[in-house]
Amino acid sequence: MEKLHFEYQNSTPVKKFAHVGVVASGDLEILVYPADGEKTTLDITTGSDGFEKVWQNVLDRFFARYPLNGKFIVHDFGATPGVVNLRLTQAMEALKDEK
């Protein structure tokens, strides 16, 4: 298990809480809150060690397309980059939802 922390400067504020995913084998859950301060922060607990660079790449790419400014908590149980991206974009969709 590894704990990772990332920070970004993003433009689109998160206005409510959103939650996607399950901490199941090959999957992860993402909690998104409105940002605490200026910065977008991500606190990631991952069961797969050695993937910091991959996380960085996934997040860089995600935020380049969807610059959400919020506080993210991630509990990852060995998801592939594809699944991570799926959950991130699902969280993005959930935040857009008017419901």
């Binding site: 797969s48 060690d49 050695g50 993937f51 910091e52 660079k53 991959v54």
Partner: protein
């Protein structure tokens, strides 16, 4: 029923593991080798003790299974494991195999008193590790990529300083695990040439037999049927990587019905499980020979 017999090497030894071994055989082995087998934690600080005890454990299990009428279709040993594999394949007799392994263990113990060893990198592919090894390796600071345990788990062997450099690089490059192994010599690398030479001299005077089944060779990962190839593997596997992943890939292409991992440990069954769910698996360290016999009978009936 096609049965793939797997023989692990060093690493899984634990005190008391010889409890169930035929006491007569143990005594006999002690006579042949002039080594008193301690089967204690202190004993297993010594690699002659480790190698002989694991071999004894495996040979005893081979004897018991064969007595019950079971024969392998394919045998695969990992490093030290090839000796019990060769025995199971009917290539070499009991006395010779123990003498051969005693010699091997002693030679290995003597060859590099300090400063050499092995490391393991998990989470990088073999080509990736190879690249890192190439960055570090030099004549004065030798390090080689060695065993290929699975696609993403490879070992390196060489001088400790060089190994540590590779391990650090591996960590930087996203390895999930990169650590030194408790092995006091640079096994499975060209640095073991002298050991291989002496082993080959010894093997040359043994009376060996054609194998009764397919033997998966460490040094090239091929399925071999000729005595010549097996002989080469027995003498030279210390200077080559153990190409376990390839061996297992090849073994699976022979479509076995059952894999049976001999003691100690269950590591190779786990690796195999990650590759396929199409065969039955037995681990002798977790069950008795009678239990294995019961399962083999059950599975054979179902086919």
């Amino acid at each position: 029923m096609r049965n793939l017999w797997l023989f692990p090497g060093q690493g899984g030894q634990n005190p008391g593991m010889l409890d169930q071994v035929d006491p007569q055989l143990k005594e006999q082995v002690e006579k042949w080798t002039n080594v008193k087998l301690l089967d204690t934690a202190e004993g297993y600080q010594d690699s002659v003790q480790i190698q002989l005890s694991i071999l004894l454990l495996q040979i005893d299990q081979v004897d018991q299974l064969k007595k019950l009428g079971w024969q392998p279709t394919l045998v695969a040993g990992h490093s030290l494991g090839i000796f019990a594999a060769a025995y199971a394949a009917g290539v070499i007799n009991k006395e010779d195999i123990f003498k051969l392994v005693t010699l091997r263990a002693k030679l290995m113990q003597e060859c590099y008193p300090e400063g050499y060893g092995m490391g393991v990198v998990v989470g990088l592919s073999r080509p990736e590790v190879k690249k890192l090894v190439a960055e570090v390796h030099s004549d004065t600071n030798p390090v080689y990529i060695s065993n290929q345990n699975s696609e993403m788990q490879n070992t390196i062997s060489g001088k400790l300083i060089a190994i540590k450099q590779v391990l650090a690089l591996a960590k930087e490059n996203g390895a999930s695990k990169a650590k030194l192994l408790h092995v006091p010599n640079p096994s499975h690398s060209p640095l073991m040439q002298k050991t291989a030479d002496q082993l080959n001299t010894f093997i040359a005077q043994l009376n060996l037999h054609q194998p009764s089944c397919i033997y998966l060779a460490n040094y090239n990962g091929h399925a071999v049927r000729s005595l010549k190839d097996i002989k080469y593997d027995l003498g030279n596997n210390v200077i080559y990587p153990v190409l376990w992943e390839t061996m297992m890939q090849v073994a699976l292409e022979y479509q076995p019905d059952v894999s049976s991992e001999f003691s100690p440990g269950t590591a190779f069954t786990k690796l195999l499980k990650a590759k396929t769910d199409q065969l039955h698996m037995v681990t002798l360290s977790a069950m008795s020979i009678d239990d294995a016999d019961y399962l083999f009978n059950k599975w054979e009936k179902k086919e």
